[in-house]
């Protein structure tokens, strides 16, 4: 009898615990959906007045006269992210290859904590560093190269600061990607008379390609949403930038700079919510595209 009761409580406990876990899972699955719906509802009042295309493809942002064109912010975001990825991508790829294929194991053991520290530095510190180092660098060194006199607060500065910030994330994944490639693949390729460089170029990079894509797309998503450090160096001027040396005004900076202010202006908060929604949708789209690419690539290896 006692034994039966014991048995029953055991089953009951097991059920309780597994329902907890299900609850936690459902919660984390629903989170992005709730977030998206919330943002959409908040921006609904703006969407009743204007069509979404009008907002997305207009370059006139004049909240006081009721114009909410978001194109300058979207373009700025794309510029900054692209530059960040252009700078961080090659750096990460080459370092990951060096660390996993050429360097002594001790170097990798030292690098791991260094990367973790880099990843853990608060973004405002990167922002301050950007203001103190990168902005003057852009103004005094890069500007004169192109015969331009600029303040340095520019898309380029934002991109460089962002690149430094996403390097640890991309690098971490790339190191794992290259480490999981079996060593035998290197051995057999060497046995065919290949040099180390040929192994890297013809075999390892190919084998790692889906992983490289996913590492870069994670970096891309992070870069796209990064706010503080970018808004400190990017200039925050509302116009459609046509070059990297011009200032820009990315979406996250727009939201962070203006939310909570001027909310008496009609539709203003709704417009900012829509900006947040657009940001979310773009990041999700990045993710979907990269998943699809990875899937395609994995089939062909």
């Amino acid at each position: 009898m006692a034994l039966q009761v014991f048995h029953r409580t055991r089953i009951l406990r097991s059920r309780i615990h597994s329902s907890w876990m299900t609850f936690a899972l459902v919660f984390s699955l629903l989170l992005p959906v709730i977030l998206g719906i919330g943002l959409y509802l908040k921006s609904a009042s703006l969407l009743q007045e204007y069509s979404i295309w009008e907002i997305l493809f207009s370059s006139k942002w004049k909240p006081l006269s009721g114009q909410f064109g978001m194109l300058p912010f979207i373009i700025s975001s794309l510029w900054v992210t692209m530059i960040a990825l252009l700078v961080a991508g090659p750096v990460c790829l080459l370092s990951a290859i060096h660390l996993t294929q050429y360097a002594k194991p001790i170097v990798l053991r030292i690098m791991h904590p260094v990367i973790d520290i880099l990843a853990g530095i608060p973004s405002v510190i990167y922002g301050v560093w950007g203001v103190l180092v990168i902005v003057p660098f852009t103004a005094d060194v890069i500007g004169p190269i192109f015969h331009k006199s600029i303040t340095g607060y520019s898309i380029l500065s934002g991109g460089i600061v962002l690149a430094v910030m996403i390097i640890p994330f991309i690098l971490n994944i790339l190191i794992e990607v290259f480490r999981t490639i079996p060593e035998e693949l290197t051995e057999v390729t060497l046995s065919l008379g290949a040099t180390r460089w040929m192994v890297v170029k013809h075999v390892l990079i190919k084998k790692a390609f889906p992983g490289i894509v996913s590492a870069f797309s994670l970096g891309l998503s992070r870069a796209f949403g990064e706010t503080i450090a970018v808004l400190m160096v990017v200039g925050n001027v509302t116009h459609i930038p046509t070059g990297a040396l011009q200032p820009g005004y990315p979406l996250p900076a727009l939201i962070a700079n203006n939310y909570g202010e001027m909310l008496s202006v009609p539709m203003y908060d709704s417009a900012l919510m829509l900006a947040a929604f657009v940001l979310l949708v773009i990041v999700i789209m990045f993710n979907i595209v990269s998943r699809w690419m990875i899937h395609r690539l994995e089939k062909n290896i």
Binding site: E184, E187, T189, L190, L192, G193, N300
Partner: protein, 253 residues
């Protein structure tokens, strides 16, 4: 038997860090025969095999003393470029590791990097080597599919074709059938027997049965040392060492 020595290992000692992995290895591997290296796991047989084409260079903290002579050239102390030495040996590993390319390019890769780029020549050579490993009929209509779409047994044959494509004179195989089903294993084994007239084959294996089936010369290793070696017939019927005898009887693995 005509005994021309292809690979001669003299007083080879190999350390990884402070671990003494190979201890005073001396052996002479005969040309155009199948030499089987037997022994329990961790006895150093794979390391010995890999030191023969200096893949041990990849290990960190490795220290090697002694000589490995291939056709009387000491490959451990030589001015010859290591890639040239490696090209003389085809490597077949425990599991098939096809290159991340299509079937055709897996075989053509070795040819391309050694400078043969003429398309017609490549096609002919690729077909030749795929036929040599009995794979051509199975893959001739899907040469541009990724190599990973083949079955494991087919992949291992593809890897053998790839190894042969650079025209080596030695085949080094590291437990080449341990991941394969019995039928694919048999195909590989038979291939080795066919190939030995043109190649010197060195096979590391766990499987005693396999060793008995294919070996012309057998080496038994235990804890980094060669315990016993000799022509297969004597080795299996009349081992002199106690350890060898109990291993052959299957008393330990």
């Amino acid at each position: 038997m005509s005994e021309h020595v292809k690979i001669s290992v003299e007083d080879l000692n190999l350390y990884i860090g402070k671990q003494h992995i190979l201890k005073d290895i001396n052996t002479r591997i005969p040309e155009n025969q199948i030499t089987v290296i037997l022994g329990p796991s961790g006895c150093g047989k794979t390391t010995l095999l890999k030191s023969m084409n200096r893949l041990t260079d990849l290990y960190s903290n490795v220290k090697v003393d002694g000589k490995i002579l291939i056709d009387n050239e000491d490959i451990l102390h030589t001015d010859t470029d290591i890639t040239t030495i490696r090209k003389r040996m085809g490597l077949l590993s425990q599991r098939p590791y096809p290159l991340p390319m299509n079937i055709f390019n897996n075989v053509a890769y070795g040819l391309r990097i050694s400078g043969r780029k003429n398309k017609a020549v490549l096609r002919k050579r690729v077909q030749h080597y795929l036929e040599l490993v009995n794979l051509w009929e199975e893959v001739k209509d899907r040469l541009h599919d990724p190599a990973s779409s083949l079955s494991i047994g087919q992949q291992q044959r593809l890897c053998l074709a790839r190894g042969l494509s650079v025209d080596p004179d030695i085949i080094l195989a590291d437990e080449p059938t341990s991941a394969l089903d019995p039928i694919s294993s048999e195909v590989i084994e038979r291939k080795f027997v066919d190939l030995k007239s043109q190649y010197t084959v060195v096979v590391v294996t766990h499987s005693l049965q396999q060793a008995k089936r294919i070996a012309d010369y057998a080496i038994f290793m235990y804890l980094g040392e060669i315990i016993e070696q000799g022509p297969a017939a004597d080795f299996f019927s009349n081992p002199t060492e106690e350890l060898t005898r109990s291993y052959i009887k299957g008393l330990f693995n």
